[in-house]
Symmetry: C2
Subunit: 304 residues, 2 copies
């Protein structure tokens, strides 16, 4: 009988009624539960700091690590040989896309300034600010986050262009960026962080964006060269909504906090209550597939 | 040859190249232009204060008043007998829907608090705030604004219900509100202001909304009983995003400014730069229809 290890009692309860599995609860701390050495399917907790190759070695039968995060980079070095790693695609994406659109609309429609007016009891409508109608939005990353952002901004009349690392129908590749950047009013970063995307958004990338353009980053902070962005913000040529920055947490004395035309949130794109519901649905579906011998979804790699 | 009166030289330029019309420019101030007594199609300026029945009487041949606003209530008493009134449906709706979604997402995702954190250089992620996934959104008004808001929130997993003044397929009527309100997490007001909708949102309406629900008003301030809403906000039972309030402008000493869980913008839903593009397209299309003897769009009434 397959043994499934989950991080919390709630996760175990979520698997109630599944035939043919035994469930153990372990979040990486405290005593090792009975049966841990028979675990074949492991659901990783949010806190990767609790794990190491050695810590995972208590489960020598392990075949699957299922995470609930979209990004898997901190786990990659830990995955034992022969173990499949699955990410949380679909769990956080919707709420991350939602925050991207909320932050973009806040910036575009001047909500931080109106909030300051509210706190000062000042009724001061700004006439003729911009809206999304007819604006060109470039989405880098063509996964669920980018697709949801595209669908939402199209409702408001924006024209969208998708760019991904691999070419496919209707999607541009990274090689097209130099030609695309000058033609877009908004750039949304919604792609994984990898060695290739490290500082993808550097001084040259930013210089190719037109005056007044908006950068949205809901991906990973290190995709953007913070100093280069800070230079463009400081000269008030570009605006930015950033849910992720480099470094994180942003030190109290960092100049980005007070840069002009920047709106910051502290990496909360995926951190809503909706992820528990979506995560529970994903885990149960993946365990069912595993037990039935069906192909798993969201496989991001294995060290075979 | 039909004589068309428009409020600005830019509006006249927008009609360049239309055969068979003469265009005069008058915004309701200054000297009467030559030919004004022959005007049959009149494009009203934004500032209704400039007009009265007497002022419009300088155009005795008038057959059509075309406005660029969605709401027409201040003009209704001015429309001469036999004159058709057309509104600006399609001109402001998209940007109003955009603001409704931006304000709703700001409130839901805590952007005003994160903005305060940014100004204080404080990296303080709030875990497990709400998102739209699985929330039930009730849209009152089933026109373009409500439909665009519905399309956008559905992207993020919300379930939507439309309510309108007249029954039609897939749309509830106002009579269903008492049963619908307790079942919805968000109520968006996007309906016209009329004698019937005056104080539609009163103490009983608000009391029927569940704890923690959000009210969004991008319609007209007087649809909501401000005192009743203030009472619910003050006891922190409901939250609200309000682009319109009663009274407007909100006096500096009004308690609504500092009520808990309220985000205010100063009636800027339709006031973006996009309306000029959309308004110009609408005026030109309507004049073309008028000249060709085709039915006009956006007819909201006549005093026949």
């Amino acid at each position: 009988m397959p043994v499934i290890c989950v991080p919390t009692p709630e996760d175990a309860e979520n698997l109630t009624g599944l035939d043919g599995v035994r469930v153990v609860v372990w979040d990486g701390t405290g005593d090792l539960p009975d049966g841990i050495d028979e675990v074949t399917f492991f659901v990783g907790p949010y806190m990767v700091e609790r794990f190491s190759r050695e810590r995972l070695a208590v489960m020598p039968q392990l075949r699957v690590i299922q995470l609930l995060s979209a990004g898997v980079d901190p786990w990659l070095p830990l995955v034992p040989e022969g173990v499949v790693l699955c990410n949380g695609r679909g769990v956080h994406g919707i709420s991350t896309a939602e925050l991207a659109v909320g932050g973009l609309l806040s910036l575009l429609r001047g909500l931080p300034d109106y909030r300051a007016d509210q706190l000062a009891h000042r009724w001061s409508p700004t006439r003729e600010g911009p809206d999304l109608d007819g604006r060109r939005v470039l989405l880098i990353g063509a996964g669920e986050i980018a697709q949801a952002v595209a669908a939402a901004v199209e409702v408001f009349g924006a024209e969208t262009t998708l760019v991904a690392r691999t070419a496919r129908a209707g999607v541009h590749t990274m090689a097209d960026l130099p030609g695309l950047l000058p033609e877009h009013d908004v750039v949304v970063l919604a792609l994984p962080y990898t060695a290739e995307t490290d500082h993808l958004v550097d001084a040259a990338f930013l210089a190719a964006m037109p005056d007044g353009a908006i950068l949205v980053n809901v991906a990973r902070g290190r995709i953007v060269d913070t100093d280069a962005l800070l230079a463009e913000l400081t000269r008030e040529r570009l605006s930015a909504f950033l849910d992720v920055v480099d470094p994180e947490p942003l030190p109290e004395d960092h100049p980005l906090w007070d840069a002009p035309n920047v709106l910051l949130t502290p990496h909360v794109g995926g951190g809503t209550d909706g992820w528990r519901r979506r995560g529970a649905r994903l885990i149960r579906a993946q365990v069912e597939r595993f037990v039935a011998g069906q192909p798993l979804q969201n496989v991001v790699g294995s060290s075979y």
